[in-house]
């Protein structure tokens, strides 16, 4: 059911854990199936220097969390903001259809974290353009 890549990220999640000194955090959840994903980011000069996650959810939720942190690190806020759910899924060699909209929340968490950071620094997404 899950791709090898999903299983691999689920088994050995990258960047897992809390970030004590995070600059911002994005918290998302899916009320239908109950997943919760938190994405912590550390930002320097609008570049994401560190990213971590904490996730309550199924293997897909965990693997997408792990993958999104991998895709994010070193990216500018603007680049990171363009990472989509599909990017995450594609980099995981796909997700089972039923998981596509339910557990594929990690990109949303990242977006929320970036929005949180922008809010804290008195900006909006438009300012990144």
């Amino acid at each position: 059911m899950y791709s090898e890549k999903v299983v691999e990220h689920f088994t050995n999640p990258r960047n897992m854990g809390e970030m004590e000194d995070a600059d911002a955090v994005g918290k998302v959840g899916n009320p239908t199936c109950g997943d919760l994903i938190w994405i912590y980011i550390k930002v320097k000069d609008d570049i994401i220097t560190d990213v971590k996650f904490k996730t309550f959810g199924c293997a897909a939720a965990i693997a997408t969390s792990s993958m999104v942190t991998e895709l994010t690190k070193g990216k500018t806020l603007k680049e990171a903001y363009q990472i989509t759910r599909n990017d995450v899924a594609d980099n995981l060699q796909g997700l089972p259809p039923i998981k596509m909209h339910c557990s594929n929340l990690a990109a949303d968490g990242l977006h929320k974290a970036i929005e949180d950071y922008l809010r804290k620094t008195g900006r909006t997404i438009e300012d990144l353009k």
Binding site: G17, P31, D35, F56
Partner: protein
């Protein structure tokens, strides 16, 4: 590769070797149609009638009652509910069931609701026991049928059938019992418990898949839902699945003969499993009733983590288990059974459903109890939730609505 251990017998059971052996001749040698008048047909007919008797004996049915062979428990439940409702519409339009019935009951009743039938889902308590007072109160002069399961496949709770049977009897309303999870695990007797219709599944008796049965007490009429050549007393048409029926028959016979032996063996394993887990893992709780439960069922929830993830980690260790987590259901809805027991969605997420089988061993239980705690620990380390950060904080508030 690590030994594969099945703790998920509620989803599928390996056929008993003796049953499989008994079925073999009916595939290529005695493959006649019981409806044929010639010898080969009559051999098949005899084999089917013998199986009918074996199944009847398991549930204490009388020779005057009917055992209808079907394609499985789902069909039996549909035939019982749709068939009874349509046939007895004149008498009333109200059906009572419990909140913890299997989807083949719940969805069939929902379907009947669209055809103009009313229904009441009787609530259960925190252990999953049907509220018999509510059951009594739910009865109206329009009530034509009560459908309550014997035991729950998910949390293992065994219902007080004797009491439920008395309520039905004194209200003169036929009682249908889904005995899929209980048959062969604990004794059941239709006449002791005042049961008029009863659903059985072959595979849950260690018989072949694709076969089930519906018991109909003498005098109980149901409308046929699959029409054709008039097999099975005209109630269920279709050429008989003779090898399957023969297999179910022997499985029923074995289940009856060896039930006490199997039950005591499984109860021992189950208790070690439950005690082992609860002792080794913090904030782990037993779902279902502590004593009124199936010998083979342990359902345990783990706070702060999600069941599918546990399940997948366990599968890497060779353990096949199920979870009540919404994440593994087709509808992504949390288990209606746990919900109706008052367990929160978040807690329901972390529920493991462990159903043991005859081939499981003490060593497997011991290994499971070793393997599980680090998995729980790992997932908890990953979870944003904890005693201080309960799920409820985020409900409604943090959730985005995507649908």
């Amino acid at each position: 590769m690590v030994e594969q251990v099945n703790f998920n017998h509620s989803a599928g059971v390996p056929i008993d070797e003796r049953v499989l052996a008994a079925m073999q001749p009916y595939f290529r040698t005695y493959y006649g149609n019981p409806g044929s008048v010639h010898t080969a047909g009559q051999q098949s007919a005899k084999a089917v009638e013998n199986a009918r008797i074996q199944v009847a004996r398991l549930i204490g049915a009388d020779a005057k009652d009917k055992i209808i062979f079907t394609s499985g428990a789902t069909e039996s439940n549909n035939l019982a509910l749709q068939g009874f409702a349509y046939r007895n519409r004149r008498k009333g339009n109200h059906i009572i069931l419990s909140q913890v019935e299997h989807l083949s009951i719940i969805n069939t009743v929902k379907f009947l609701n669209k055809q103009g039938f009313e229904s009441t889902q009787v609530p259960v308590d925190e252990f999953g026991l049907v509220n018999t007072k509510a059951l009594e109160e739910a009865i109206t002069d329009q009530t034509i049928l009560i459908s309550i399961q014997h035991a729950n496949n998910e949390v293992g709770t065994v219902q007080p059938l004797a009491e439920i049977g008395k309520i039905a009897k004194s209200a003169e309303i036929p009682l249908h019992v889904d005995a899929v999870a209980s048959a062969g695990q604990i004794p059941i007797n239709v006449s002791d418990h005042g049961i008029s219709l009863l659903t059985l599944s072959s595979n849950d008796l260690y018989g072949p898949k694709g076969v089930g049965a519906l018991y109909l007490e003498k005098g109980i009429a149901v409308q046929t839902i699959i029409l054709g050549g008039g097999q099975e007393y005209g109630i269920r048409s279709g050429s008989e699945n003779v090898p399957g029926i023969v297999g179910m028959g022997l499985a029923a016979e074995i289940a009856m003969r060896q039930q006490p032996e199997f039950a005591s063996y499984l109860t021992g394993l189950r208790d070690d499993l439950i005690q082992g887990i609860l002792k080794k893992v913090d904030e782990a709780y037993l779902n279902g009733h502590p004593t009124k439960r199936l010998p083979n069922n342990a359902n345990i929830r783990f706070s702060y983590i999600e069941g599918e993830a546990i399940t997948l980690h366990l599968s890497f260790q060779g353990f096949l288990v199920a979870t009540s987590s919404a994440c593994t259901s087709k509808t992504l809805a949390p288990s209606h059974c746990l919900m109706s027991m008052g367990i929160s969605e978040a807690e329901a997420h972390g529920a493991l459903q462990l159903t043991l089988g005859r081939e499981n061993t003490q060593a497997q239980i011991d290994r499971f109890v070793e393997v599980l705690p680090p998995i729980v620990e790992k997932l908890r380390a990953m979870s944003p939730l904890s005693k201080d950060v309960p799920y409820e904080l985020f409900e409604n508030e943090e959730h985005e609505h995507h649908h």
